[in-house]
Symmetry: D4
Subunit: 190 residues, 8 copies
């Protein structure tokens, strides 16, 4: 859709000012019922441009949704093999949830718990079992919005840097939850 | 875990009072770090019971998380084939989100939109394109919390009754979004 | 309404794709003032169908609203007999509140407390008095959204599996609250 | 509990300053596990008092929780007789929800809708079907937090003044929802 | 407005069903700009009535807004005399805030703190300094939504029952805050 | 408390770096129960200072809480004289609520409505009756968080600039609400 | 725009009643697409005025947005020099956020953490490292909405009074975070 | 900090499983007061690794915080030159706010408005003035959470794809707001 199909999207040299898109959009057509939440692919033939040097750009690395789904499914499968009912979430380094899976029969609290464990793991680039231990020294860490310092979250790293967190909740112990989360991470290492 | 493995869970005859579980739990053991959010599998050997007749029970039907993931992935694949970047959500008849997939490069607004479209479709058992048309007569329907009356949501039914909704958002038109959502529904019909 | 009256709703063999409902709805009529938030009962005479095998379906067990109301009322009556003013809530295993009763003269904090105690009890399938004790080992459990680790919540089980939680709040001690909650559970055991 | 059992609670002449309650509470005892969210019934033998004249007090009238439950159940029964699946809520004139009943098989959107319809009906002392019509002239009324201008809410009055609202949601039309809400009101008129 | 001017509003004998009000309202007139959020005073000449016995009604006692304002102002004045900058709130027994005063130069956190202290004091009918001490035994009390267990909240009672709470925040110590709150309570005792 | 008693607080020449306050605070003493949410008045005898030129400072004008209370009370009195039950709020130019008064018997929706009307009036420096008319051209203005475009809000100005808004809600028409709000403004003009 | 350009805005003598602005606004013109959220500068030629004495006004001191941006940038630069990735926020004494900067590569939790540290520092006029220590005596301070008691927040003062807080989050230790925040404060002392 | 300093972060070949980080963290040291919200830079000498192929990774492009600050400041300066008081926000393609600047004297509603306009512009890759026009056909677009369809938001693009949005609010017309936002975009084109 509105992300250019250019195969090297990261070697951007220019930034087109918004006025261009406005021109393009004004030419778009929308049916009364089908109009939706996306910009048309129409391109403005000739419009003022403002170029931006590479120095103004930075990049972040993410799991593809396909990889994240594979990891989440692997975590769920690992739990199933031990007859545990859990929910699973994958959160990226920007703090956005990429995948959630509410396991059959998992407790209602497991869904939000899994998401927060994943968020916590990717925020500090560490398993939540380790982070929970750190609270002995700085208990207020757990007051940061969106976090949950319970075992069951594991970070996913690219060259040592965090790119995602996988969170699992619903098993009888946090150790089990985290074992399943690590199974999710392992599904990426191939 | 705490859902009994009984193969006919719906022909329940008895309800064990909570005191039993308390006894069971009191016998549980939790390590300092690994204690987690779930009940142990321990069973109380002998405890007072209170039986509940079947007349007090009802049942609801859900997609398994495996089926829901298959449907969501199918919707995402259908979008990909048309070079559209979307997010997908599956919501069950109880209003709980079962699966979310944030598509690569999809707009930030697509995630919440997909979830709300799915919620809307399962609530009224109709595609959101149809429901959007209904607003001409009752515009306040869209003020109900959690809903979004934009094309892109499709209901999943079992014998005519709604059991889930699939929502897609991020394509340039709601018609496209809904086409992909229907591809997700179709992946269940096999 | 939109749940089929079929007497064996759980032996579903087919899932009708959403397009069918769309056709049905398009034929519906809505008056300007009376249009409301529900699908019409109209049935589409002939429409494409997509069948879903049973393997894609799962089921959850609930208290009927009648049974849940009976339990909540019993809890309230038990409190009244001891001149205690409390509020009561019943939450199902999906985390949805089924019944709430704000008792005459109960403190304003009792309503939300009762709901959270019920949520907590059904999430971990244990009385909240037991769960509160577990915090000594894993204090972060109480940071999970929607929970409250105070005595007064009791689980309702079917064959050992949790199907609901009953929460009571407002009495001078949690032991009293939980005694009343257990009276609610007991009202189901007949 | 902490509401005095005095049979004429409305002819209050005195207000005891908080320091008294503090003394009473300081004498209370709480077990480690059972401590709960309520003040003990202990009375301070002798404490400074500050009297308040009646001119500083006003009173509000409420349905008892027993009456509200009766009304809500009557609304639910009326819907059942017509094979409609709905949720019901009763909200008092202070805006607090007194009773909620999530009907078996009712759509997930019905619970919050019922509560908001009840809130709207008691706020303006009119059926929501009437209030919805008023939006033609003042459409921003519907932007007030907590309201929903859809048919299905009915006010309960004492001598013409609103004391509660009953809201119903989930039937195929707002007219039906409101018919059931009125059945709830009628259950009080005996 | 819509509360009847009857001088004995608490000896209600009848409840008029909502349909009456609907008739009355339908006769109302609203200008396009001035239409607002309230029911007209018009009375329906002849309408079906449903009477409700007194057994269905209960009553709650409140401070008048005039008295509550007097108390809040007294608390603010007491703080001013000691050169302290604070905010003050009065919350009634239904949990609704009646008066708030943000003191000149008071810290931004003082406003919400005052409101929560008042809520806490009226919920448990005790000064928050006393309630804070109770956390040693039941630390989870402070997880109840809307509460704050810091000194500075004082209950207002009528015949021993709580009818309101006054909360003060912003002084260098909770003891000072509570002293000012008690000055607010004292302003009612005349 | 922590605002210096200097009589010309606006002619500030210097900004003391935070490290100073840290030193001061470290010297403070807090009793276990009475510790509260405020900095002690202790002054650091000798500490590094960093001066800030006036060019880094700006100032905003507010109503004193005493004046705001007078205005809100005047609005309430004006309503009372016409037998209308309303709530009143005063919001300052920073968007913070300074005073709220929940009128006796006012509808539950009036409290939040009054606050939002006040917020809207001070944001655009115009009565909300005027602003509501402007929606004909830009209906999305009303989607800005915290606003309400219903008559009943009036701006308070100092030399033409907005310094506060007064909002009233609960009367049968917005014209009445706004008349009472203007009475509140008039109470300041003396 | 709607703040008068008067060079001595703090020596206000008069308050013009809202009706004046209404007249002015009624004369304004708004194009269908460009209408926006602000009052026009038009002045009413002759309108009733109500004057307010200076006794009704008070003033608060703020950092200019330019100064606040300079301070935030300085904090970010200080972190960069030590190869730390952080986010920075500046909050004023009214509790409003003035500037936020999400640092490149900073963890997702750092943004909200920085804002809350800044809010906490300006609320109590002390570095959050000092305030965190104070929790040993009054742990409930951290339950006040919007606060975070972790090192990394520093107050900005004018003549000893707090006018803003600078918060930094994301470095491996709170000491580092606070060092960077102090660098931000130091950038103002020139 | 925890993002590797590798100059080609996008050519990642391996993903280190979370267990590695755990080992590293376990070796970390935290002082009681200074412990904070970040992972230490320690590297585990020898740990199991799981490699992930490039096919599992994707990348997103962002403005650096330095560039975003430059753009926001340029927008603010443009407004200042026309004596307009506005707030400015920059939101990235993931929906996260990167920079906010609350302009001196800008209305309280401008801060959230600017943020939402920026979010809307980057979501649909078009100026909000254009998007507002699109509501004529699909009015429900504006019900998507976080959006605001008022002129004043402009997209920032890299090779035609959206990477950020700049939002401005507070000027008397949306046309002016958007002109200033475009000035911010133009500051990037150099």
């Amino acid at each position: 859709m509105d992300i250019n199909a250019n195969p090297q999207p990261r070697r951007t040299k220019k930034i087109v000012v918004g006025a261009v898109a406005a021109a393009a959009l004004a030419a778009g057509t929308f049916g009364a019922v089908s109009a939706s939440a996306a910009a048309p692919a129409a391109k403005a033939p000739a419009a003022p441009r403002a170029d931006v040097g590479d120095r103004d750009l930075t990049h972040s690395t993410h799991l593809t949704v396909t990889a994240a789904t594979r990891a989440a499914t692997a975590a769920l499968d690992a739990a199933r093999k031990e007859n545990q009912r859990v929910s699973v979430a994958v959160v990226d380094r920007n703090g956005n949830t990429v995948v959630t899976l509410r396991g059959d029969g998992a407790g209602p609290q497991s869904y939000a718990s899994a998401e927060r464990k994943a968020y916590t793991a990717v925020s500090w680039n560490a398993p939540t079992s380790v982070l929970a231990g750190r609270l002995a020294q700085a208990p207020q860490l757990k007051d940061i919005p969106g976090t949950l310092f319970l075992a069951g979250g594991a970070p996913v790293q690219a060259q040592g840097a965090p790119i995602a967190g996988i969170g699992v909740a619903g098993a009888p112990s946090g150790d089990l939850d985290e074992k399943f989360a690590q199974a999710g991470v392992a599904a990426l290492g191939k």
